[in-house]
């Protein structure tokens, strides 16, 4: 079991309220991602759940039991840190066995569980090494191994892939997703990388200045962002926003169009502009179009074969059914 309920949970540091009272239910077995810009309070929220920070208000329930006043170890949760936080003076075996040793398990049981975790994480050949002798990816796997052996009610990941290079990050992302499929344990994952959020999550919690802006599945957030913040945050490259007369004509104070929902043509289309920077990804090309009179820049995704040069005049056509309309308060219409 691993249902976590936050009820009116708030956090203040002195006079500064970093997390205003919020409610959230994380169901058993869910993979929930907290996403938001730097300083939005996502790591603080995770630390409140972990018990590494005390709540200023509200209650945290784990499987229905009030865990607000419990210490980190009593909550039955395991955490994987951004810096791995391995014990550098211990071997991989001792690192993974440490929580079992603290729980007073006998040596045979410790060995059994360590061997099991090492097998799952391909660490069997590295058990007698020190963390300093491992690569970044291996270290992160040791950190995950240390979490797995505790058989926790939920795993908490605090930006665990931030220190890895891009290729390794993709590999570890898949490994963590596979681990979730296999264990079916609740996982709460903090990241500022929306690709991680979109690809891994069952449910995404978008945070901004400590407030929850929207909770939903990755596609819900992508298709029906509740407000301008979520619309701008989810999706890469980000949605272009248009205000003024053209927006009113489309039925909103602001309208947003994603780069993939715009068609680019040298001669046809209602919006006319000039090509600025082009980003070639091979399969796709992103054109940053200026001088439209609608927004400072409108980003368009085109097929990788489309050849346009800096300064070329282009016409853009938005897909009418994919336009997002927002009112004056920035809320979805």
């Amino acid at each position: 079991m691993g249902q976590i309920t936050l009820s009116k949970v708030a956090k203040r540091f002195g006079d500064a309220e970093v997390i205003p009272p919020l409610d959230l239910i994380i169901d058993d077995g869910e993979f929930v991602v907290f996403v938001g810009p730097s300083g939005c309070g996502k790591s603080t929220l995770l630390r409140l759940i972990a018990g590494l920070e005390d709540t200023s208000d509200g209650r945290i329930l784990i499987d229905g039991k009030d865990a607000t006043a419990l210490g980190p170890a009593q909550r039955g949760l395991a955490m994987v840190f951004q810096s791995y936080a391995l014990y550098p003076h211990m071997s991989v075996r001792s690192n993974i066995a440490f929580p079992l040793k603290m729980a007073g398990l006998d040596k045979a049981e410790q060995d059994r569980r360590v061997e099991g975790a090492a097998k799952v994480l391909n660490l069997t050949n590295y058990l007698d090494r020190r963390p300093g002798q491992l690569s970044g990816g291996q270290r992160q796997r040791v950190a995950i191994g240390r979490a797995i052996v505790r058989e926790p009610a939920a795993f908490l990941f605090d930006e665990p892939l931030s220190n890895l290079d891009a290729a390794l990050r993709v590999g570890m992302r898949l490994e963590i997703s596979e681990l979730h499929e296999r264990l079916k344990t609740t996982m709460i994952y903090v990241t500022h990388d929306q690709v991680e959020a979109m690809t891994m999550a069952d449910k995404i919690v978008v945070l901004n200045a400590g407030r929850i802006e929207q909770v939903g599945s990755p596609l819900e957030l992508y298709r029906t962002p509740r407000n301008l913040f979520v619309a701008g945050f989810i999706g890469s490259p980000k949605m272009s926003f248009i205000t003024g007369a053209e927006a009113q004509k489309a039925g909103g104070a602001t309208v947003g169009v994603r780069p993939e929902h715009l068609r680019v043509s040298p001669s046809e289309g209602p919006w006319r502009g000039t090509v600025g920077v082009s980003e070639h990804l091979g399969s796709d090309t992103f054109f940053h179009v200026h001088d439209t009179g609608l927004a400072p820049v409108i980003t368009v995704r085109a097929d990788g074969e489309v050849a346009l040069s800096h300064g070329d005049t282009v016409h853009l056509t938005p897909q009418a059914d994919k336009i997002h309309r927002f009112d004056q308060n920035g809320l979805r219409i």
């Binding site: 972990a50 590494l52 210490g71 980190p72 170890a73 949760l77 395991a78 955490m79 840190f81 951004q82 810096s83 936080a85 391995l86 014990y87 550098p88 003076h89 440490f98 929580p99 603290m102 729980a103 240390r146 505790r150």
Partner: protein
């Protein structure tokens, strides 16, 4: 681009460096040389540098007549005891200051350090009276406590500096893994801080070994360490320079040898945190 240094300049620097080193080491070299001289040659004018009648008689006399080893044993017990007790108190103190600092932690650290600026003689009378009342005069326990208290600010400061370098996330990981505060300090913090603790230990042993004010005042015979042993040679019968030198050599030799073998650790300890 590296700065080019001429050969002459290098030679000049080497000569200056050796000159300074010899100047600093001269009192020790002279003491050691004197300790091997017969008493009349030790006070000869002009001084005899190396052409004297070498003898080990002074060492023999010092060990035989003055009971060197009981003083040595007291020095060892007092230095090690005060260091161990100091570490036992300072490790939890430095832990709390480094990882759960309060608003006044910095002020507290500065205040602790400021006590080192207080002249020892200012607390001589109250401390003497307290020791007399508690029956701690001329006791090893009394000296262990006094030397521990004298050096505690330095131990706390050094350990605090070391602990600050340890990432807090590792201790948080230990907490998540179910470690109690004691286990966190025992299994995670202390092993990670061993280089720092070792430097602190060595420095504190040296400081305690060399402490002369309290060790001479608060002891008579039973707990008297080597500092008292040396001061005992300035007797009313006159000064015996050669014997005094032999005694001094024997008093400083253990700590000099320890310092020599641990100099790398010691330098690292004293300069830790100075550069990243």
């Amino acid at each position: 681009m590296a700065r080019a240094v001429s050969t002459q300049r290098k030679a000049f620097n080497t000569v200056v460096a050796w000159g300074v080193a010899l100047l600093i080491a001269f009192p020790i070299i002279w003491t050691v040389l004197t300790s091997f001289k017969p008493e009349p040659q030790a006070v000869a004018t002009p001084p005899i540098w190396l052409g004297f009648d070498w003898t080990t008689k002074n060492y023999h006399d010092v060990v035989q007549q003055r009971g060197y080893f009981s003083f040595f044993l007291n020095s060892v017990i007092i230095a090690l005891g005060s260091t161990a007790l100091g570490l036992l108190i300072a490790i939890p103190a430095a832990w709390s200051m480094a990882f759960v600092p309060g608003r006044r932690t910095r002020d507290l650290l500065m205040w602790m350090l400021s006590t080192k600026m207080m002249p020892a003689v200012a607390v001589l009378t109250p401390l003497y009276l307290i020791f007399r009342t508690l029956g701690l005069l001329d006791s090893r326990l009394g000296l262990v406590v006094v030397l521990m208290l004298i050096n505690l600010p330095i131990i706390v400061w050094m350990l605090y500096t070391y602990f600050k370098e340890i990432p807090g996330e590792i201790l948080e990981a230990a907490r998540m893994d179910g470690a109690s505060l004691w286990n966190e300090i025992l299994y995670v913090l202390t092993p990670m801080a061993i280089p720092g603790i070792a430097s602190t230990l060595i420095l504190n042993i040296i400081l305690a070994w060399n402490e002369a004010f309290w060790t001479i005042i608060l002891t008579v015979t039973d707990a008297a360490p080597l500092t008292k042993f040396i001061s005992g040679f300035s007797s009313p019968q006159g000064l015996f320079y050669a014997k005094l030198s032999a005694a001094s050599t024997m008093a400083i030799a253990p700590i000099l040898i320890m310092g020599w073998f641990s100099q790398k650790q010691l330098v690292r300890g004293l300069t830790f945190g100075a550069v990243k």
